[in-house]
């Protein structure tokens, strides 16, 4: 089998399949389980400076083509989570801490206080007041926050972008100017579902983020645009649920992929994607490097 190792923005991974933020990332044990199931890296649930319980339920709606969620950034605070990260590390894969804040100072405080193998800046959650895409839709704030975390972190810094913008490349360029080691694209698409019997929005927060198969073509387009315009690597996320989806992301320009909603099928999906990727590059007698961005070299 050809090797699947990749350098994902300064983080060496055994394979390019990473557990996405917000998925089974609430405890060290569940992160370790993803690593043991074959994930090349795992990303924690987003961590803030103080404990948060999240939005009232329903927090999830299963729609025809994916999953709509409004969890509301529940987390026990980065301080309390450090021990979970240590447990997650025993799974043998790098542990990336997803962090969020309402200002560059708050992000920096967390980056200074938390030990992880890399940081992923959540500048893209579409359903939490004062956080996520409320900062991340402004290129100047993306640059400032990224720069501040870079100045306070001695590990790679990835920036996760929102697709809920007219021009995601502008956001990617801002992160690059701020010194980001990689871009992660995309977070969920802002969305909602309404109960037809009562007319009530179903999510407790009314609005949430759409993930799963529905968003994959959007994610592929974003990865393509970002990777063909930026110098830093792009990690593709959004609706990856098969090895073909992972290949498509890599052809669009991704150096690695993250898997989230597909975990609904169980942890086995991680190995399934890795096995499919191995067979594919063997059949194509190519390396992951050769395949990366092949789509934009065609146009």
């Amino acid at each position: 089998m050809p090797p699947l190792t990749v350098d994902a923005g300064g983080l060496m991974l055994q394979n390019p399949v990473i557990l996405a933020a917000g998925i089974l990332g609430t405890t060290g044990a569940s992160l370790r389980r993803a690593a043991l199931a074959g994930a090349g890296g795992v990303v924690t649930k987003s961590l803030g400076s103080a404990p948060r319980e999240g939005h009232p339920g329903p927090n999830i709606v299963q729609v025809e083509c994916g999953l709509l969620n409004a969890m509301g950034l529940p987390n026990p605070s980065y301080r309390e989570f450090q021990e979970e990260i240590e447990i997650a590390r025993t799974g043998g894969s790098p542990v990336v801490a997803s962090i969020f804040g309402s200002s560059a100072e708050e992000f920096s405080q967390i980056a200074r206080g938390l030990k992880a193998d890399a940081f992923e800046l959540n500048l893209s959650c579409p359903h939490a007041e004062k956080y996520g895409s409320e900062l991340g839709r402004y290129p100047d704030l993306v640059e400032i926050v990224t720069g501040a975390v870079k100045a306070n972190a001695d590990v790679p810094v990835w920036v996760k972008l929102t697709p809920n913008t007219a021009d995601i490349v502008e956001l990617g360029l801002a992160a690059q100017r701020g010194g980001a080691d990689a871009i992660v694209a995309i977070n969920t698409l802002k969305a909602m579902a309404i109960d037809v019997e009562t007319g009530m929005p179903i999510l407790g927060n009314r609005f949430g983020g759409l993930s799963g198969s529905a968003v994959k073509p959007v994610a592929v387009r974003c990865v393509y645009e970002l990777s063909s315009n930026l110098d830093i690597p792009v990690i593709g996320v959004g609706g990856v649920s098969s090895w073909e989806d992972a290949v498509e992301m890599i052809l669009a320009g991704a150096c690695a992929v993250q898997v989230g909603t597909a975990l609904m099928k169980g942890y086995g999906i991680i190995q399934e994607i890795n096995d499919g990727l191995s067979r594919y590059i063997e059949r194509k007698t190519a390396t992951l490097e050769d395949l990366r961005g092949k789509a934009w070299r065609h146009s």
């Binding site: 089974l24 319980e53 339920g57 999830i60 969890m71 605070s77």
Partner: protein, 256 residues
């Protein structure tokens, strides 16, 4: 699935803080499975089935208090049945329940009887006025009742009833109740843990196995989809009875 709009057909008071809601849908749950109940405008909370079309609920917080304000004709949203329920094994079983946790066991016992399985029960309550489903259990077979205050049956916790039973007699034991009550039973009956199925509770948010809020230490078992019924030998090796995580993911004590 989206929440199914469900009309409450009937509300029955079982005890001062416990009511049974009969729904207009037969959702075909297995005993031990649960559903997510959306009390519109308030919250969505997990509840186990007490029959093919009933859920039995104890008022414990904001969501259940809001639910108790609803009567026949009101509607709620239901996702379910969800998770893995109890599995019937053998020809002679024992049900051990505490408080409102007896509800899925009554349902299980009725299915077991229909399948020709012999059923005995040990059920405990705080006091005689909290007793629910007495006739359901007594019609299944031998029933031992305990009360914490001694107002009915054996005076003491549920475990006080164990001395009346020989657990070797049963092919399978089914357990549901407050966590510390279940922990008490499991830790006193370790040699039977391999044949004890326990329905446990954790903080369920997504109920589809992706958010991670209900994961058990140390192996990350997702209680919402791999449970809520889990074998006791596995629970003995877990966080169960020691701590549990709340809505933020912070560890806290096991209540009850």
């Amino acid at each position: 699935m989206r929440p199914l709009n469900t009309v409450i057909q009937e509300v029955r008071s079982e005890a001062p803080l416990i009511r049974t809601f009969r729904l207009d849908h037969q959702l075909d749950p297995a005993p031990g499975q649960y559903c997510m109940v959306w009390i519109r405008g308030v919250d969505e909370v997990p509840m186990s089935f007490s029959g093919p079309d009933t859920i039995t609920i104890q008022s414990v917080g904001e969501a259940t208090r809001a639910l108790f304000r609803l009567g026949a004709g009101s509607t709620i949203g239901i996702r379910g049945p969800l998770g893995n329920g109890f599995v019937l094994r053998g020809d002679k079983i024992l049900l051990i329940g505490g408080g409102v946790g007896t509800a899925p066991l009554a349902f299980l016992g009725e299915q077991a009887r229909e399948a020709g399985i012999e059923v005995s029960s040990l059920i405990g309550f705080r006091s005689s006025e909290d007793l629910i489903f007495r006739s359901r259990f007594e019609s299944l077979g031998d029933t031992i009742i305990t009360t914490d205050d001694g107002s009915m049956g054996i005076h003491g916790r549920v475990a006080a009833g164990l001395k009346e039973l020989n657990l070797d007699d049963y092919s399978q034991i089914y357990l549901c109740g407050p966590e510390m009550m279940m922990w008490d039973i499991i830790s006193r009956t370790k040699e039977h843990a391999g044949k004890t199925q326990a329905s446990i509770n954790r903080y369920f948010k997504c109920a589809v196995g992706v958010c991670g809020s209900c994961c058990l230490d140390p192996d990350g078992t997702r209680a919402c989809v791999e449970g809520p019924v889990i074998m006791a030998d596995k629970l003995l090796e877990s966080e169960f009875g020691r701590y549990r995580r709340g809505p933020s993911g912070s560890k806290g004590p096991c209540r009850g």
